[in-house]
Amino acid sequence: MGRRFKRSHVLQGLLLLLALAVPAVAGPYWIHVGALAWYYAVLAASWALLAGYAGQFSFAHVAFAALGGYGSALLTLRLGLPLALAIPLTVLIAMVLGALMGALVLRLSGPYLALFTLAIAEIFRLMLIAEEDVTRGSLGLQVPGLFSGGGDVPYYYLGLALVVLALMAMNGLLATRIGFFLRAIREDEGAAQASGVNTTLHKIIVFVATSAIASIAGIYYGHFVGILSPNMVIIPEMGLVIAMAVIGGIESLPGAVVGAVVVYALSEILRDYGEWRFVLLGLALILVQRFAQNGLFLFIERYLDRRTAPVSATPITEEGEYAKPS
């Protein structure tokens, strides 16, 4: 257990160093791509917490990102609030709505939950289109930037910082009892409840936490890209986030980050191939789910572990993970 712990940390540290070094070697185009990839990374990781750890398969995650983007932009543009006030207020709104959603979906699971959250996201998107007077509808809402000068580099590092902070915050949450309770709820809600887990409270907690993180990602995205449109909430966009998390590893937060960066980078590298990229994405999503349900990141991590530690012929078991003292 300890060995794996160290090894995966070394791997993550190396990846972080690599990410820090990118602006030094890459041109402005790839810095821009990287900064966008961080938006997806934060979304995919927080969705992995919601769907992978807690078993709440939500289609409304991108809606919370859009809520963040539009919230921060509209509060500053229409109400004239300073950013320092608009951003925390937006996150607060996202948390309140996240709690409300968590409370509403308490009794729903599996496909019912997926359909419910899909409907919520659709309603939100349609409202953004319909209320043109406020949101400028499909024309798109112009959003002021955060930094003057410096190009995309400051955004790149801000995005990277958000990824690291989000991962630390979520890992912190998972290391507490809450993390174990969430997994217990996912495996068997009835049994968890019978063992004294307050399932209501923990489901709401996970919705609040992941909604807040999604809204922060959306705020970052809005101010970075400079224009918001209801297309942030279309189903294919949610599909992209799901694909990233599943390919990277739906039950591993760093895995989801790697999945997001790899998928997004590949989609840029293969730009010449047009829509074939997404054909490949759909195929990859089906194949990964069919043959490597824990995602490619865990697949590689386990492979590394097995090579360096021949003793651990037994795979990393669930018991091992639960035995980690909290």
Binding site: G55, L108, S109, F116, A119, L126, M127, G239, E275, G282
Partner: protein, 299 residues
């Protein structure tokens, strides 16, 4: 009055197509306990299959619908065997999520494949029958009339098949209890395959019927796909009859909504949002739907 009749009949036609799609989705859900998130893309593929059967093979338009249904039946069977089948074994731990992800992956795959292969521009297959029926206040292009008649025939046929044939009853038995069905000698796995194939064929048929009315585009399945979700929730997630009534009602309500609400941009957005809101309310208040029965989870 004429305007009202026009909107109602148009809503009814679309509602019948929705009902056809929703019936397929319901059949899959009731037997496999899987919501097929790729259903809308199968509808789209059905439209194109019919188009190419008509233009390349030169079959009459109505035969194109049959070709599309057969092609989609085959595709559904293959997809179920290759991708969904591991779900019934212990290899897959979280079955609900597995099914959502692979069927959703199917949507991404098919929609983009259609963009590459068929191109982003819309295509219009030839009419079933040129011209328009005018009878008093009723104005109905023959394409819509024929699509409705074929949809009704298919829906009645489906209802008859499920209620009166031994295969249909076997499907119903598996939908009620997999174990009990197995005890009396029905092979549940075979029924899963047949149900998914039939569900796909119904989606394909709906797409082929709508093709001459609206043009074909690779993303044409997205909106009807969402509508079908709304309808099966309304109809109680697994009641074929419920989904038929739900589909017709939703089509008419939306037809009237778009026609009568002021401000076309808002009207279009909010009539769609209305359906989604209906889904939310039904799931919260009456998860078994308006005509529903409860469904055991697949474990």
């Amino acid at each position: 009055m004429t305007y009202f009749t026009l909107l109602t009949t148009n809503g009814l036609v679309i509602g019948l197509i929705y009902a056809l799609m929703a019936a397929g989705l319901t059949l899959v859900f009731s037997v496999l306990k899987v919501v097929n998130f790729g259903h809308g893309s199968l509808y789209m593929v059905g439209g194109y299959a019919s188009y190419y059967a008509i233009t390349l093979l030169g079959v009459p338009p109505i035969v194109g619908v049959v070709v599309a249904m057969l092609a989609l039946f085959g595709f559904g069977v293959a997809f179920e065997r290759l991708v969904l089948a591991p779900m019934y074994t212990d290899k897959v731990e979280r079955k609900d999520e597995y099914a959502i992800i692979v069927t959703f992956g199917l949507t991404i795959l098919l929609t983009n494949l259609a963009l590459v292969v068929f191109g982003p521009f819309s295509k219009s297959p030839p009419s079933f029958w040129q011209g328009t029926l005018i009878a008093g206040p009723l104005i109905l292009p023959y394409d819509r009339l024929i699509a409705s008649i074929v949809a009704i025939v298919l829906l009645v046929g489906l209802a008859w098949f499920l209620a009166r044939t031994s295969l249909g009853q076997a499907l119903d038995a598996v939908s009620q209890s997999r174990e009990s069905a197995a005890v009396i000698g029905i092979n549940p796995k075979r029924m899963y395959t047949i149900a998914f194939g039939l569900g796909s064929a119904l989606a394909g048929g709906a797409g082929a019927l709508i093709a001459p009315i609206f043009a074909l585009t690779p993303d044409m399945g997205e909106l009807p796909g969402v509508q079908a979700f709304i309808i099966i929730v309304l109809g109680g997630m697994g009641s074929v009859g419920g989904s038929i009534i739900g589909g017709i009602l939703l089509g008419i309500v939306q037809g009237l909504g778009v026609g009568y609400l002021p401000d076309p941009n808002r009207a279009l957005a909010y009539t769609q949002a209305f359906g989604a809101l209906l889904l939310i309310i039904v799931l919260l208040v009456r998860p078994t739907g308006l005509f529903g029965r409860t469904h055991p989870r697949l474990d």
